[in-house]
C-alpha cells in the first residue's frame, strides 16, 4: 500500500472545490483516459487577473485527486502571475509530500494550471516543442530535460515517476536514458 500523508488522505476523502465551475472563464485540461489520470481545472478570473474561484474534475488515483484539490486551494486568491510561479513541488509540499512514484500527479496539476492560464490570456498553446520521446504519454525530450534539471532525476525510473514517460510499452526507455545522459553531460 502507498504511504500517503494524512493530508493526502484528507484531500482524497474530502476533496475541496470539486465539480464544474459554471461561470469559469479559463479551463485547463491535461491527461487522458488511456493514461490512467486526467485533470480538468476551472478558474474564475476577475478583471485584475486575480483567481477568485477554482474547481477541478479528476480521474485518477488518490494522489491525483488530492493534488488537484490542493492545487485549487493554493491558487485561490492568487493573481495569474503568482499562480504561474506555482511548481509541482509546491503542490507536493502542500500535501506533506507524495510518494516518489506518484510525483507525476503533482506535475499534472502544474500542467493543467499552465494551460488554464494560457487559455485565459488567449494564448494558443502550440504543438509541444521538442522531439516526441514517449508516444504512449506524449512526452517530449524538452519536457524530460526540464524535469531532470528541476528535480535532479537520475534514472529512467525517476523520469517515469515524474512524467509517466516510459511506463507504458517501454519502447522509449533507451531514448529516455540518452536524454538523461545528455543532461548529465552538460553538467
Amino acid at each position: 500500500m502507498w504511504e500517503y500523508t494524512d493530508k493526502v488522505k484528507d484531500h482524497f476523502m474530502h476533496p475541496r472545490n470539486v465539480g464544474e465551475l459554471k461561470d469559469a472563464n479559463a479551463v485547463g485540461e491535461t491527461g487522458s483516459l488511456n493514461c490512467g489520470d486526467a485533470l480538468k481545472l476551472f478558474l474564475k478570473v476577475d478583471e485584475n487577473e486575480r483567481i477568485v474561484d477554482a474547481s477541478f474534475m479528476t480521474f485518477g488515483c488518490a494522489s491525483a485527486v488530492a493534488s488537484s484539490s490542493a492545487l485549487t486551494e493554493i491558487i485561490k486568491g492568487m493573481t495569474l502571475d503568482e499562480a504561474a510561479k506555482v511548481t509541482n513541488g509546491d503542490i507536493a509540499d502542500y500535501l506533506g509530500g507524495l510518494p516518489k512514484e506518484k510525483m507525476h500527479c503533482s506535475v499534472m496539476g502544474k500542467s493543467a494550471l499552465q494551460k488554464a492560464i494560457a487559455d485565459y490570456r488567449g494564448i494558443q498553446i502550440m504543438e509541444k516543442p521538442g522531439e516526441m520521446v514517449c508516444e504512449c504519454f506524449e512526452v517530449t525530450d524538452l519536457e524530460i530535460i526540464d524535469a531532470v534539471k528541476a528535480n535532479g532525476l537520475e534514472t529512467t525510473e525517476d523520469v517515469t515517476n515524474y512524467l509517466k514517460a516510459g511506463g507504458g510499452c517501454g519502447k522509449c526507455l533507451d531514448r529516455i536514458e540518452e536524454v538523461i545522459a545528455s543532461v548529465k553531460a552538460e553538467g
Binding site: M13, P15, L33, G36, G60, A64, G166
Partner: protein, 390 residues
C-alpha cells in the same frame, strides 16, 4: 473495524484447524525430521502424513511431492530443471498472462541467457490461442509452462488437453496451479503434467511454503543443492511447521472443493449480478463460462482502481485493483492489456476473490459501498457525465 476479506487470490486466512495442527511443532516438538531418534521422528512422521495429504489433493504419489519455500520457488525450480534436462534445446514457451514468477523468469532467460521465448497470447476473453501454441511446438523446445488458472481474472486454461499435446512430442510440461488448487479438481495423472506448482498461502496454509510435483521417473535437477532432504531434490532443513500446516490445509481443501463450486460460486455470482444491476458502465473481464468459481474481475468505466480500493478500505473491505501500481505509470496490468480490455474500464478494474469464509451479508455491504464509491468518483471524473461515459 470488521474486515471483509475478498482478496483470497492474493492470500488467504490461515484456517483455525491448520493453526491448531501446527502449534505443537512451534513449541515442544522441535526435532529435526531427519534425526535418528524418536523425538525427531515424531516430526518426521507428521511430515510423511502431510506429504500424503498433499499428494491426495492432486492425485499424486507422496514420492512425487517436493516441499519448497513458495510458489515462486516451485516455478523457478521446475523451469531450471527442465533446462538442465534438455541442455541442447533453446525454445521455451509460456503465455503472456502468467504470474511474474514465470513471466519474469522467462524474460530473464530470453534477455540474459539467449533463449528463444514464445509468449502465447490470449484473446479478449482471456482464453489461450491454442493454435499458436501448438504451431510453436518445435524439436528445439525444452519446456512449455502454462498456468492452470489466472490469478487476476480466474480464467482457466485447458491444461489436460494442452499437456497431452505437449508431452506427446517429448516436450516437458509444467503448470503453475497455484490459483487452481483448492478451487477446481486437479488430477496430475489424468492431466499428463510433468511438473506442477502449488503455494500454501492460497489455500489457507501459511505463507512461505510451496510444493513442486515432479512426475515419477522424470529426471530432476535440484535448484537448491544441499543435503539429502526431499530425497536430494531440495536441500535445506524442512520448514516442518508449515509443511504440517499445509498437509492439514490440503485435507481441508479437498473437503471444501464441493462448496467452492456451489456456495462460493453462488456468492460470487450474486456479487457480480448485483454490481451489474445497480451500477451502469460496468463490464466483467474474462471468460464467464470458464472461470474459477471464486474470482470476479470487474471494470468500472471512467474511474480509477486505486481510488475505489481506498474507498473500500475505509469500510474494511479488502480487494485488489487491476493496476500494476508498482510502476509510477498506473498502467493496467499485463493481463488486462493482453486481453485488450479497453482503457476506459481497465484502469477501473477491481478483483474480488472469495473464500468459503465469506457471507451474503458481506456481499451486500460490498455492493452498497461500491454503489456509493463509484457515484462519488464519477461525480468528480471528467469522463462521466449524465450517467454515461464522455
Amino acid at each position: 473495524m470488521n474486515v471483509i476479506y475478498t482478496d483470497n487470490n492474493a492470500t488467504t486466512r490461515v484456517a483455525d484447524e491448520v493453526i491448531e495442527e501446527m502449534l505443537p511443532f512451534f513449541g515442544g516438538f522441535y526435532g529435526n525430521p531427519s534425526s535418528m531418534h524418536t523425538f525427531g521422528d515424531r516430526v518426521g512422521k507428521k511430515i510423511r502424513q502431510a506429504r500424503q495429504k498433499v499428494a491426495d489433493l492432486i492425485h499424486a504419489d507422496p514420492d512425487e511431492i517436493i516441499f519448497t519455500s513458495c510458489g515462486t520457488e516451485s516455478d523457478n525450480s521446475a523451469v531450471f530443471s527442465a533446462l538442465n534436462a534438455r541442455p541442447d534445446k533453446k525454445r521455451i514457451i509460456t503465455s503472456n498472462v502468467e504470474h511474474p514468477a514465470i513471466l519474469n523468469l522467462f524474460k530473464f532467460l530470453r534477455d540474459k541467457k539467449g533463449y528463444d521465448v514464445v509468449l502465447v497470447p490470449v484473446d479478449k476473453k482471456g482464453d489461450l490461442d491454442l493454435d499458436l501454441l501448438y504451431d510453436s511446438l518445435s524439436d528445439d523446445t525444452a519446456i512449455v509452462s502454462m498456468m492452470w488458472a489466472n490469478n487476476e481474472t480466474g480464467v482457466i486454461f485447458p491444461i489436460p488437453e494442452i499437456a497431452e499435446k505437449v508431452t506427446e512430442k517429448g516436450i516437458l510440461f509444467h503448470t503453475d496451479a497455484v490459483q487452481a488448487a483448492g478451487k477446481i479438481p486437479i488430477d496430475v495423472r489424468a492431466a499428463h503434467v510433468d511438473m506442477l506448482s502449488l503455494s500454501g498461502h492460497k489455500i489457507h496454509a501459511p505463507k512461505g511454503i510451496g510444493v513442486l510435483y515432479v512426475k515419477k521417473g522424470m529426471k530432476f535437477f535440484p535448484y537448491l543443492i544441499g543435503g539429502h532432504q526431499e530425497k536430494g531434490r531440495r536441500g535445506g532443513t524442512e520448514n516442518t511447521v508449515s509443511i504440517i500446516g499445509l498437509g492439514k490445509a490440503c485435507e481441508l481443501a479437498e473437503q471444501h472443493l464441493p462448496i467452492m463450486n456451489t456456495q462460493v460460486k453462488e456468492l460470487r455470482d450474486y456479487l457480480q449480478n448485483k454490481l451489474l444491476e445497480k451500477i451502469p458502465g460496468v463490464s466483467v473481464n474474462g471468460d464467464l463460462e470458464n472461470r474459477l468459481p471464486n474470482t470476479l474481475s470487474i471494470g468500472f468505466d471512467a474511474v480509477e482502481g486505486e481510488s475505489i480500493l481506498l474507498m473500500l478500505d475505509k469500510e474494511g473491505i479488502c480487494a485488489s485493483s487491476g493496476s500494476a501500481c508498482t510502476s509510477g505509470s498506473l498502467d493496467p496490468s499485463h493481463v488486462l492489456m493482453a486481453m485488450e480490455v479497453p482503457f476506459k474500464s481497465a484502469h477501473g478494474t477491481i478483483r474480488f476473490s472469495l473464500s468459503h469464509y465469506n457471507t451474503k451479508e458481506e456481499m451486500d455491504h460490498i455492493v452498497k459501498t461500491m454503489v456509493s464509491a463509484i457515484e462519488t468518483l464519477r461525480a468528480m471524473s471528467p469522463f462521466w457525465k449524465d450517467g454515461k461515459l464522455v
